[in-house]
Symmetry: D2
Subunit: 317 residues, 4 copies
Amino acid sequence: MPGSRLNADLWITEYITPYDVYHHGVTRVLAYARTEFQEMQIVECGTYGKALVLDGKWQSCTGDEFLYHEPLVHPACVNHGHPERVLVLGGGEGATVREALKWRTVKRVVMVDIDGQVVEACRQHLPEMHQGAFEDPRTELVIGDALDCLDDSAGEWDVIVSDLSDPIEEGPSFKLFTREYFAKCKRALKPGGYLVVQAGPTSPVEMAMHVRLVNTLGAVFGNVASYSSYVPTYAAPWGYALASDNPIDHRPDPARIDALLADQTTSQFRMFDGITLLGMLQTPKHIREAIQAETEVYTLVAPPKFFGKGVATEKGE
Amino acid sequence: MPGSRLNADLWITEYITPYDVYHHGVTRVLAYARTEFQEMQIVECGTYGKALVLDGKWQSCTGDEFLYHEPLVHPACVNHGHPERVLVLGGGEGATVREALKWRTVKRVVMVDIDGQVVEACRQHLPEMHQGAFEDPRTELVIGDALDCLDDSAGEWDVIVSDLSDPIEEGPSFKLFTREYFAKCKRALKPGGYLVVQAGPTSPVEMAMHVRLVNTLGAVFGNVASYSSYVPTYAAPWGYALASDNPIDHRPDPARIDALLADQTTSQFRMFDGITLLGMLQTPKHIREAIQAETEVYTLVAPPKFFGKGVATEKGE
Amino acid sequence: MPGSRLNADLWITEYITPYDVYHHGVTRVLAYARTEFQEMQIVECGTYGKALVLDGKWQSCTGDEFLYHEPLVHPACVNHGHPERVLVLGGGEGATVREALKWRTVKRVVMVDIDGQVVEACRQHLPEMHQGAFEDPRTELVIGDALDCLDDSAGEWDVIVSDLSDPIEEGPSFKLFTREYFAKCKRALKPGGYLVVQAGPTSPVEMAMHVRLVNTLGAVFGNVASYSSYVPTYAAPWGYALASDNPIDHRPDPARIDALLADQTTSQFRMFDGITLLGMLQTPKHIREAIQAETEVYTLVAPPKFFGKGVATEKGE
Amino acid sequence: MPGSRLNADLWITEYITPYDVYHHGVTRVLAYARTEFQEMQIVECGTYGKALVLDGKWQSCTGDEFLYHEPLVHPACVNHGHPERVLVLGGGEGATVREALKWRTVKRVVMVDIDGQVVEACRQHLPEMHQGAFEDPRTELVIGDALDCLDDSAGEWDVIVSDLSDPIEEGPSFKLFTREYFAKCKRALKPGGYLVVQAGPTSPVEMAMHVRLVNTLGAVFGNVASYSSYVPTYAAPWGYALASDNPIDHRPDPARIDALLADQTTSQFRMFDGITLLGMLQTPKHIREAIQAETEVYTLVAPPKFFGKGVATEKGE
């Protein structure tokens, strides 16, 4: 009999746009909870391993999270050169901290996540993600508000990694994608420190938020770089924005980077090295042009509103 | 009322894997036919414009096809430097020919597609794709078999572009992804000419075919490069393999490339330029390592069998 | 490999509720048009044969339309006993007329449908539906507005069959499910004639419209009966309302009905006979109770708004 | 913005046929387990309340289970007239026992279910289903094999209710839909007792199993009746087969039934009463004719194989 086999009865649905929907088949539900802040699921998927899903939005899965987390952390660290103190905002699964800890220069990683129940569930069910990062003596986990934490620190961090959920309207994080928030981040950095922000999809029809985020960071920092990484389960290339008052090297020499990584890290990378970094930093023409054409910035008065891939947190209509 | 709006009643379903399914909403059916070779639909989609669908498989759509067609054609042409004669195998929509014609050096583009009915429908319904390419006096359209055409030509082409459907079992094209076929392509090229092959997805769980194709080309040509481009509607980064007995420059200088493009092309590119090319050629570490580890090649005896995203042509089980 | 096979790439989606969605796989598109009034598709489906789809809503398919059309026409005709003049409002596929013509007593069937292009496409592509009904000398097809037609006739019909699309907001038919419209129908009937209305789903969560329609008819006619028929492709039992100032026999003797049918019809029924009629008229307790509890009626000021299973006609938000 | 809203991120998929798929949106996962026998989920749905799902197959949900369980139990009890001892085979949710206990004549209900973990989860999470039935002093719950239980009893039961999962190949229950099994049931009944079997969908394209089950029961018992009930979430009318060597009254007088129910039951029925029973027993013509035409019976050598709506238990391909 002809046909395409489907092997799941339970599906997580991602509403990419009102005309584009992506289904991931679930083979096992490992954890489910309604926390104080959001709906959480940890599931086992057919193709991509285990996944964390918050408010119906796919956060990351063990099968391709390295394509998200390595690009999130290492370009900032490489540009810094010898990061010692790293602040991770969000990052529930622990994979962002895991990456930061690969730098032998790193003495302290503080991770601030608002939802302790999610962090605890990830700790228990997603060891492939954190790989013991929470137990590392250099790690400090703070359950609390990223904004409070930033207000409490000044000139303290070499690298800040903003690994927050997309700014869905009515969701908890949309304020954290604004000029005001980025100014707080800058104050919390040591002079010349680096901030990196997960900055939304960069597919042609979805890149408006990414472009404006890059422009918003440009209103706060002297230098900004946009780069992307393929993350198949997001159904889009995923964008990052790296910002600093120190220079960002857009044309790094791969051999020099590889020597730096060999010297200062554990070298346990799956996708990241000098060649990969050089490639990522060559932002394609259409994205470069869109960034150049952008004039608006996100502020608390006019924050971003991401198309909701998930429905669970939408309220009040 | 909360929720995610969906705006379509009719959906094209892509079976990416048995656990991952992608739906694209159709707003209008422009053409439908069962041709001698396949089932064809030309549809209007909500987000990405008009699309060609063959045997249930998404071929390309006007909203992001530039992310597929510009990387398909120009790296080969740039490496050649002054392409005059280009052979396009497949390429029904005419967008591949359109890109080749952007080179002022090009004197002749022959496109060989097996399905005249599909080409005619694209000509009529997808002017955004071909943009008059079929009417260009340098273009010759041949309705016929790519293999016959290759057998008839020797030492004739500067660049050959293999823009064929994925090698679904029982589909028409799986023989055209083998060592024997690539040897025919090499014979048809002028000495030192360049062959580029659309070479399947490069997401971690799907890249086995890409990796083996690169290895298969390496058994025939002296030099091979793997590179990828983000194509959102494919739900995966898409891979290409560029092959030649002449060198392939993996670290081109963007300024030199831009000067070459300014000199020899119409410069009407949306995503392609020197920076983009430099970026694409920096294959990420995990793909590089998979290619280095590959030992098998595809042959007529052991051809590729792609997971069928479409069901329409599958027979005989 | 385990799994459930799916055999289609193209799917018609029915949004039953915001939490219940039904997909029917399409194997061939037979006709597609945007008419003056609606979007039309005639498709071939994997399981249930050929189907007519209007504005994304499944109208009927050859595999189970007998479960819709036989119950639509014959209870009214049986209660009348010797119908001679039948008016069909809507009924594009011709299957409603086909059923009426099975009555040898019938001398004239007038069918009024607003969309000539849909009727013509059905005539061409759905011969299984109309079975030549449009060619019967007793049939007259009027392309026009049901309301105009009712205004033009008084005391003329033995049976009126209201076979209109569901009253989706902004759709063409919501006015035709109101007290005012039913009063026009009554005026167009001969004294004691019978009106039957397709009257929406009768599943527990969806039956509100059905219940209010029955009550609305009760405000116009002396007697009303609610009955339902299983139509699998609607994913719900489907309701009808039969109304007249003459009596409706809720407990007919099957043998007597079979004798009547043998005498006055061609007897070519697939699901309908005396036993089936007796069964259909025994409305289950929960529907009976809901009807008894209903107090509101639909009027032009407060017409029904059906949950849109289709999106194509929705406008203006 | 136009469109159809969907309000869920997590969906249970029912593969009705390879071309017909039904999705039910899940708003909350209440319980999830892989038991010794099957995969179990108890979920909260948007439209139909809470549901039990086994091996990916929708078992019942609080919003329309009364349309399944009342017709399952009461026609057998009414035909018996004064049931005292009832055996329920399967019936994990406890709703079948709940219905049997509505008969004041009933002194003992034994429920035999193979999966104690499922029963316990239903007891905890689905009080709307069992409504305390497990605590009733007349109820005895046996965790074990239905076949063993039947072998242990002879001439013991007034009514046996076979409320087993569909006979999916490789599933646990396909042997329990055979002539040999029904003969065991007959032996376990008191002389003239009644057996009722949930007997699969009765939609035209899916009714083959139902028809053959009715015929199989006819090979064992003197009298068999087929009847159906609308269960919207099954996307099909659902069939039952009632069998006995005593008569089955196909044309019961509603008033007499209502008097019997008033006398001998708690009268707490949502859909069942005399009129409903009369209606259900009037099997539509096309089903009657299919039953008359059937010649085969299911045996242990040739058991039924139901199209798998779920994939979880399928093995060994």
